[in-house]
Amino acid sequence: MSDFIQANLPYILAGISVGGQYALIAIGYTMVYGILRLINFAHGDVFMAAGLIMIFATASLPMYISIPLVIIATVLLGVVIERVAYKPLRSAPRMSVMISAIGVSYLIQNCALYFTGGLPRTYPAIPWLSDSITILGATTKRVTAITPILTIILVLALVLFIKKTKVGLAMRAVSRDFQTSRLMGVKIDTVISMTFIIGCLLAAIGSLLYFTNYQSVTPTAGAMPGLKAFVAAVFGGIGSIPGAVIGAFLIGIVENIIKGIGWTTFSDAFTFVLLIVILMVKPTGIFGEKNTDKV
């Protein structure tokens, strides 16, 4: 066992790190699904857009302005998407909203294709984060060590926010029962905007960490991490934040161990096998609540 860990340490470290990045995206999925019952297919693309904004921002601005700018722009993008593409369809069937989400995803990818000319762009090195360090004999970037710590801090802050503040209470109420909470005077639109703000904020931070590691941004760079984060959210029980985080770490670590064994082709497939197994065995996920259909 210790031999296995020693041999695969770089992969396990990379897995923990990428798991943390998936977790930050997965929270956006799980919160939006919890409240709107919508798979926000565009979330992975928002994550990719954050990467592109960073590249374009650092081309002319110093780092200490670019990073906050990226976070603000990503949050704005998320809120605009919600207002333009999802809000008008609030009373429409679920399929229409999902199609709208797919449409937004298609739009963002095509815009990215247009602005980048289809060429992969190199992500700028963020000074302190991209430095090399050595952990237990394995050389890696500092971001690998920072990601899990930062993820856990952010998740704890988010959980506190949802448990202790009034907006958090409203979110929990809306995710429990949309109509009733509206009757109780909860401002639905504010709550939904807040959800998208938090989701996109975390996706922006996730993209800073993820692309510091992988360094190349293509128009479809967000699709796979997005899908994986969604699977993490389903695995943990959609709507549950700790569940999504655990799912994300699990996917990140296993995926990288599979790469370490040499089965790189199947590292993506594993995620979907996990998804299908969990949907078969426990469709509500490990922390999900059971939902029954009423006539």
């Binding site: 199609i99 995803s105 299908i276």
Partner: protein, 412 residues
């Protein structure tokens, strides 16, 4: 007695006028198809190859194939209400099965150069070609391989369907999407490279331009005609299916699962039937797409391809076969031909700075978003295009015009 009940139940038999309309529509459709086929043969062989015909051939071929893919997706998403996103995976299997079966023996060494010439050492089209001559061999072999491709996909779909179809709406979507990704990964795996050629592309199999009939010194190309023929047959089969009692059960499931079950419809059986049939035609479409492209590579069958087809279905109208067909041709024509100038950097001869690579796709996605948000019924809604319907529309329009004019005269 039974006939009477049947008449009461079957609305089309109640009005003789409806029956007559139906017959007129059928005749009109046949005349239209006949014109299309004659045009397709002329286009491939007689018409001079200039800028327009050179664009028209691929647009018509790809448009027809996409029409089939969209109709097959519409059967599942629009008529049965199952939101499945596995289309690209099924197309991939269909295309690969077709390609693997028709690569000529002599080309195996070149195609499977990294896998010692591959495992299968025969080609169905060649086997038939040796007996029937190259043209008939290609046509019959291709048809047989397309059917095999469809059947293989149908079997896969049945296996996938057993676990997946028990899931509800968005879980079903994400599970089918997941299966499509798994299929893509497996087909790129070098471990079965002897069959699938790993992550390399398959080529040199029988494609649409191989369907040439040599009569004396005449070479008649049936490429476009062949694509149209297969697509027409498949779409007609789907329409017959939709209008049968199975089709009515599908619609009942779409409208309300619980009431459908209460009416005695076996939910799982009908969902499975719809899923398998839709996948069969997706496989056929995938095989045709492989024939059209002349090369096929698993990496291209991403979820973006499924999204593209889904969005065409939405443009045409969810639950309308004719809508899907119209939208498919429109989409392909715009994408491959009419809107190409948006990428070229010029409007006419005037250089426009922001007209560069990818601008066409941006405009497209904006149009799609406008349709999704403001015209969610698409081109046809859930109605079908028919000859008599069109005539009525024109009559109504004329009547309205006449009334308007009369009103204006009175006003004077």
């Amino acid at each position: 007695m039974f006939k009477k009940i049947n008449n009461a139940l079957n609305p089309s038999l109640r009005h003789p006028l409806d029956e007559q309309n139906k017959r007129t529509n059928k005749v009109a459709l046949m005349i239209f198809l006949a014109i299309v086929y004659v045009f397709a043969i002329l286009l491939d062989n007689v018409l001079p190859a200039n800028g327009i015909t050179l664009m028209l051939i691929p647009v018509l071929r790809k448009g027809a194939i996409y029409a089939l893919l969209c109709v097959s997706m519409n059967l599942l998403n629009g008529f049965t209400g199952l939101f499945s996103l596995g289309q690209a995976g099924f197309m991939l299997i269909g295309g690969y099965v077709y390609a693997i079966l028709t690569i000529p023996q002599a080309s195996h060494a070149a195609v499977y150069q990294y896998f010692d010439g591959g495992i299968f050492q025969f080609s169905v089209t060649e086997v038939f070609g040796n007996v029937l001559g190259p043209f008939l061999g290609n046509v019959i072999g291709a048809i047989i391989c397309i059917i095999i491709a469809g059947l293989v996909v149908a079997v896969f779909a049945a296996l996938i369907g057993i676990p997946v179809l028990r899931l509800k709406s968005d879980y079903l979507a994400i599970a089918t999407l997941g299966f499509a990704e798994i299929i893509r990964a497996i087909f790129q795996w070098n471990g079965i490279g002897g069959i699938t050629n790993g992550s390399n592309l398959l080529r040199k199999y029988t494609n649409l331009d191989n369907l040439v009939w040599n009569v004396g010194s005449l070479n008649i190309n049936f490429g476009t005609t062949f694509a149209f023929l297969i697509v027409t047959l498949c779409i007609v089969a789907i329409i017959l299916m939709i209008n049968s009692s199975y089709g009515r059960a599908f619609k009942a499931i779409r409208d309300d699962e619980i009431s459908a079950e209460a009416m005695g419809i076996n939910l799982f059986k009908h969902k499975m039937l719809s899923f398998v049939i839709s996948s069969f035609f997706a496989g056929v479409g995938g095989a045709l797409l492989a024939m059209f492209q002349t090369t096929i590579q698993a990496a291209a069958f991403t979820s973006a391809m499924t999204y593209e087809i889904l969005l065409i279905v939405v443009i045409g109208g969810i639950g309308s076969v004719s809508g899907s067909c119209i939208a498919a041709f429109l989409y392909i024509a715009c994408n491959e031909w009419w809107l190409r100038f948006l990428d070229s950097g010029y409007l006419g001869s005037i250089p426009v700075g922001f007209f560069r690579g990818g601008f066409r796709k941006v405009i497209f996605s904006i149009i799609i978003m406008v349709i999704v948000l403001f015209f969610s019924r698409g081109i046809m809604g859930d109605k079908e295009l028919s000859f008599t319907g069109l005539l009525n529309k024109i009559k109504q329009f004329k009547n309205r015009k006449a009334l308007k004019q009369a009103a204006e005269k009175e006003g004077e």
